[in-house]
């Protein structure tokens, strides 16, 4: 599946390899200006800006919910709930730099409240991660091994404690920077890094 441009926009968050540093800088500057303008318009109560904001983030928040272990239907509901909460807490949005952290924090809280209300509920697997190993023998054992590792990693991430799973999802899968992800998790950067290290250590033991 071709990834949408808006999803890759966040790859300047240092969890992804960057091809050209100059291009990345330009893109980062452009995105920062875009977010600043969007945040200012949202704070001013601009209805059109809210529409753009939904276009920009609804897929990301849906995937965030899926990666936190909610099934498709619940993820849709929680995505809608996250935006409803966002409209009600516009006043807490400081500036464009804080846009990601602010929205993901709301979404994280919405997810947390859901799990609290439905304690016995099992986590759903992510459809895309039910990875089929290609039958073509020429693809070789390397590809098969890679897919097998991905499958193991998917399970290992799912079984991480909630806070560690959230840290991995925010930084490595939603591609937020450490600062944004820490803001989203509601902790200091040091605490977030520590969670991330613990999560990586656990995953390394189980997957590699």
């Amino acid at each position: 599946m071709a990834k949408k441009a808006k999803l890759t926009e966040q790859n300047t968050g240092f969890a992804h390899p960057i091809s050209g540093q100059g291009d990345a800088d330009k893109k980062g500057k452009y995105l920062a200006e875009l977010r600043d303008s969007l945040a200012a318009r949202l704070r001013a109560g601009d209805h059109a800006a809210a529409g753009e904001f939904v276009d920009m983030y609804n897929e990301q928040i849906f995937l965030f919910m899926r990666r936190l272990g909610h099934d498709r239907q619940v993820s849709e509901d929680l995505t809608q709930e996250s935006f409803l909460q966002a409209w009600q807490h516009i006043s807490q949005l400081r500036n464009g730099k804080a846009l990601n952290g602010w929205l993901y924090r709301i979404a994280g809280n919405v997810s947390k409240l859901y799990w609290r209300k439905h304690k016995g509920r099992e986590m759903a697997s992510i459809e895309g991660a039910d990875i089929d190993v290609p039958e073509n023998s020429e693809a070789g054992c390397d590809i098969a091994g890679h897919y097998e590792q991905l499958g193991r990693l998917k399970n290992a991430v799912a079984y991480l404690p909630e806070k560690l799973r959230q840290a991995v999802v925010l930084h490595y899968m939603q591609h937020l920077t450490i600062a944004e992800a820490a803001e989203a998790a509601g902790v200091r950067e040091g605490t977030f890094k520590s969670r991330l290290n613990r999560a990586l250590e656990t995953l390394r033991k189980q997957v590699l």
Binding site: M1, K3, L7, A15, H16, P17, L42, R43, G45, D46, H47, A50, G51, V54, D55, N58, E59, F62, L63, R66, R67, R72, E76, T79, Q80, F83, L84, W87, Q88, H89, I90, S91, N109, L113, I126, E127, G128, A129, I131, H146, Q149, L150, L153, K154, V157, V168, Y172, M173, Q174, H175, L200, L203, R204, V207, L208
Partner: protein, 176 residues
């Protein structure tokens, strides 16, 4: 090396777990955008505090109840042990609720009657709300009698003599 490999695997997993969003979800969300995006929404502040402080609803409810009792104790001017709290709450509600609302309603009625050119007198600024012997307003009726509204909201129709007696009693109470 292991860390780089793990990071790469996590990035690959992120790519592999991209799912299409239901067509129409974006529109559903957009339909829920309020007409006026207000920076301040008072009604949801409590929920936000509960979420932000990460305290349970039970604890939040306890905090709110204690705050109400404390305020009631302050307004009532009683100590908040034994029966003091109950009396304080009752007094506060009487002042904030029934008594005060009646005064405002009568005042509004008085202004209305004045505009109609009726013979009416309003004493509300000088009496204590809730006083059942104080005259809040008097209205002269076409038959020469007077409709009296007391401080506690009760009404009575009296003749001129009774009215003078009521005024005398009110004056006497004031001077005590």
């Amino acid at each position: 090396m292991n860390e780089q490999k793990l990071t790469k695997l996590l990035n690959d997993l992120a790519d592999a777990t991209v799912e299409p969003v239901r067509p129409g979800l974006t529109e559903d969300i957009k339909r829920q955008i309020p007409e006026r995006l207000s920076p301040h929404k008072g009604g949801t502040d409590t929920i936000h505090i509960v979420i932000n402080l990460r305290i349970s609803k039970l604890a939040a409810a306890a905090v709110i109840i204690v705050t109400i009792l404390l305020c009631a104790g302050l307004f009532g001017g009683r100590d908040w042990t034994s029966d003091g709290i109950v009396d304080g709450v009752r007094d506060s509600l009487a002042w904030l609720g029934a008594g005060r609302a009646d005064v405002l309603a009568v005042r509004s009625k008085y202004e209305d009657l004045v505009r109609q050119g009726r013979h009416v007198v309003y004493y509300g600024d000088n009496i204590a709300p809730g006083d059942n012997s104080a005259i809040l307003m008097q209205l002269k009726l076409p038959d020469g009698k007077y409709r009296i509204v007391f401080g506690d909201g009760s009404t009575r129709i009296v003749n001129a003599e009774e009215l003078i007696e009521l005024h005398s009693r009110m004056l006497l109470n004031k001077t005590r």
